[in-house]
Symmetry: C2
Subunit: 107 residues, 2 copies
DNA sequence: TTCATTATTCAATAATAATTGAATTATTGG
DNA sequence: CCAATAATTCAATTATTATTGAATAATGAA
């Protein structure tokens, strides 16, 4: 993950609606959620939710698929892990503390 | 760490200069760096650097102290760890994957 | 095919953030 | 105290982001 991708991901998460959407999808796990379910759970206008889902998806934090007339969004755990690794890279020049290692890659 | 703090921290990091400053300070470790050293290393105008250092500090990501006529900025590793924990909280409803546990708290 | 549902895109407005240069504050040494 | 160094604050401009309502696209069922 390069600097530009990291900035996009951080900017995507740095907004109330998007942070809530992302966290809801992290909790939801592999099943994901539809925009309708997210809109209901978070009380966001559909237009606004669409905008934010697109931002998160463009940033690489979400994956989208279709199931019938519903779309399903899922958190991209690998992207989240890469992001965290980037922030802690070469922490204290490598020693004495280990780098932070996200352990959530098997989702 | 609450939602508002998390958003402030993410927004602070979602900018090229600030991300570079923060990462440089993560690498620098407990010694920290002066604005002058950061300005030289990253080729940023002093005024602009000051603005960004303030943003990062207000977001809780940096700590400031004075040493003679120099100021010293250091990364706040606890804040960074809290931030990462927040993003992965209740990942997949708690199972089957463990939550990401940043291991860089002894810096 | 026609209607209802689900969700997105578009265009306009409102709000927030970044950069620049000039002026100011704080500290140390002569 | 006065000059030099280190860094910040202020004010103006420019650029980016978010929200809203109306219109559009895609799917499935009668």
């Amino acid at each position: 993950m390069n600097e530009q991708n990291v900035i996009r991901a951080l900017a995507a998460l740095a907004q109330e609606v998007r942070l809530r959407v992302f966290r809801a999808l992290v909790v939801a796990g592999p099943e994901g959620m539809t925009p309708g379910a997210l809109a209901a759970a978070l009380a966001v206008a559909p237009t606004s939710l669409s905008f934010h889902l697109k931002e998160l998806t463009n940033a690489g934090l979400l994956m989208q698929s279709r199931e019938g007339r519903n779309l399903i969004y899922r958190a991209d755990y690998a992207c989240m892990g890469d992001l965290m690794a980037y922030l802690t890279e070469n922490c204290c020049r490598g020693t004495p503390c280990a780098e932070a290692a996200p352990s959530c890659t098997n989702c």
